[in-house]
């Protein structure tokens, strides 16, 4: 890590934040509502690769720990739906795994690490539309750094961070990167291209 990077969240902060987001999801979706399953929706967490999938996996584990309810979890690669395909070289496709039962009639919660322009989320919404018809779609992000280019907002936000477009928000998760934490670098564009 370059020394000019400013630490935004430590590993412990990330852990606490993910736990809080899991509690918020349980509360907002009434997941533990009597446990009868009649009123509570079928919740599906879909992570956007790479770190969104890791976060979705962690949220799934936390939700089960806190509420006793096992929610479905999967990954949704959005590469084929991006709006910048004409301008950038092809990038390697990531794994898509839609849980058994699909997303028809489910409450889908998209999970990503950083919300920036909103274009990834738009791509994910387009991809969802081809896969099925959820009753509702919500968005959970670890960091909202502003600078939206589309009319989108997140339902669950780990941390709102004012940034300049010139800065680079780096989310690092132990499973993907070997280190854990969030840093702001005073250079570069979006956290990931």
């Amino acid at each position: 890590m370059v020394t000019t990077d400013r630490e935004l969240m430590s590993a412990a902060d990330v852990g606490r934040t993910v736990s809080r987001m899991a509690h918020q999801i349980i509360e907002k979706t009434a997941l533990d509502d009597g446990g009868s399953g009649t009123d509570s929706p079928r919740v599906v967490l879909l992570g956007i690769p790479t770190r969104g999938v890791t976060l979705a996996r962690r949220l799934t584990a936390k939700i089960e720990e806190f509420s006793g309810v096992t929610v479905a979890f999967g990954g949704l690669d959005i590469t084929l739906y991006r709006d910048d395909l004409d301008f950038k070289p092809p990038r390697a496709l990531e794994e898509t795994s839609i849980p058994a039962g699909g997303i028809d009639g489910a409450l889908v919660i998209l999970v990503d690490d950083v919300l920036y322009t909103g274009r990834s989320v738009r791509s994910a919404l387009d991809a969802l539309r081809d896969i099925g018809r959820p009753t509702a779609v919500q968005l959970a992000v670890l960091v909202d750094r502003g600078h939206r280019e589309l009319p989108l907002r997140a339902d669950y936000v780990g941390k709102n961070v004012p940034t300049s477009r010139a800065e680079n928000v780096k989310v690092r998760l132990a499973e993907d990167d070997g280190v854990e934490g969030i840093w702001i670098a005073p250079y570069g564009g979006p956290a990931r291209p």
């Binding site: 690669d77 084929l80 739906y81 395909l85 004409d86 301008f87 950038k88 070289p89 092809p90 390697a92 496709l93 990531e94 794994e95 898509t96 795994s97 839609i98 699909g102 387009d126 081809d130 896969i131």
Partner: protein, 330 residues
């Protein structure tokens, strides 16, 4: 991909080939269980297939691959086009470039035709071209070789490699035995090149009359004339069709003798290891190079090859047509 065209399997580096195979698997995943098999990835791209030879699998899978990615796919065949009136390949190619092709997929009986096509269409001649991506890049359309004479058929080699990888888990160090009419087989040439790139060991088995001159000097494959000796050690066996339409001499005494010596009969299949996989690029002549029930056995991957063909061709179109504008500052 560093290349703008896919003319030969030998043009692919190990990393490029692996990236295409990985993405082909991802395309399979992305479309798994979907009712609507449609991705927006190639919206606005025009893909024209030019088939000067008969084809079922290759033409259909390229067309399906393009359409599932929302490209506009147009098929030109020799019999239904101006080719039947005597138009040359070059003029047809320039016409299709001017009409707006972003990709040209060609099958032609002449070896090297895909290479020529790429050269002819690289520059603008006598008028602008309408292909959006190609235009932005300032070059001609991407050319994909879908089989040129007895030279190469790179997407077939890619789908064969993908099938072997799916069945065996890996390709590196595996022993692949290619049996039959190697002399006339573009599939064999592309496979030898790609399998070498990916680290497999290749054995060519054929009667001496059906091997290309100097095949031993390729350095890429060992050669044998005895099928029975090679079967027990094979991880994959690829049977080739005897291409009677390309034969203008007597290459073997009789079909029956060929079949007895070089056919993968039901009885001979028993010599294969349990894990070994049987491939055939199709079209198959059951009873000739392959036993009647062999393609229907669980060891056969013939139909898996076909579905892999669609996903591999999606991956190839993705690598060639996405980001065509990258050379320009946006």
């Amino acid at each position: 991909m560093s290349v703008r065209h896919l003319l030969s399997a030998a043009d692919l580096s190990r990393d490029e080939a692996t990236a295409i195979l990985d993405d082909a698997d991802r395309f399979r995943q992305a479309l798994l269980g979907r009712e609507v098999k449609k991705l927006p990835t190639l919206r606005g791209r025009t893909v024209i297939t030019m088939f000067y030879e008969n084809s079922t699998r290759t033409r259909v899978s390229f067309e399906v691959a393009g359409k599932w990615m929302s490209a506009d796919v147009i098929n030109v065949s020799a019999s239904g086009s101006s080719v039947a009136k005597g138009e040359s390949l070059r003029d047809t190619a320039l016409t299709l470039r001017a009409a707006g092709a972003d990709a040209l997929i060609i099958r032609h009986p002449a070896s090297g035709s895909a290479q020529l096509l790429a050269e002819w269409t690289a520059e603008e001649r006598g008028g602008p071209s309408l292909g959006a991506g190609a235009q932005r890049l300032g070059g001609g359309p991407c050319v994909i070789n879908a089989g040129d004479g007895t030279h190469e058929h790179p997407t077939q080699a890619l789908l064969d490699a993908l099938t072997v990888r799916q069945r065996l888990g890996d390709i590196e160090g595996r022993r692949v035995v290619i049996v039959g009419d190697v002399l006339h087989s573009r599939v064999a040439r592309s496979n030898v090149a790609l399998l070498n790139t990916l680290g497999a060991e290749v054995v060519l088995v054929a009667p001496p009359t059906l091997l290309p001159v100097g095949v031993a000097d390729w350095g890429a494959a060992t050669v044998s004339h005895e099928l029975d000796a090679e079967l027990p050690g094979a991880d994959a066996v690829m049977m080739l069709r005897v291409q009677a339409e390309r034969m203008n001499g007597a290459f073997f005494p009789s079909e029956r003798e060929y079949s007895i010596r070089y056919g993968l009969s039901d009885r001979r299949q028993a010599q294969l290891a349990d894990h070994a996989v049987v491939l055939h690029p199709g079209p198959m002549l059951r009873g000739m190079e392959i036993g009647f029930s062999v393609p229907d056995s669980s060891q056969s991957a013939v139909l898996q090859q076909v579905s892999n063909g669609v996903h591999v061709r999606m991956a190839v179109l993705f690598h060639l047509l996405v980001g065509m504008g990258e050379a320009v500052n946006v």
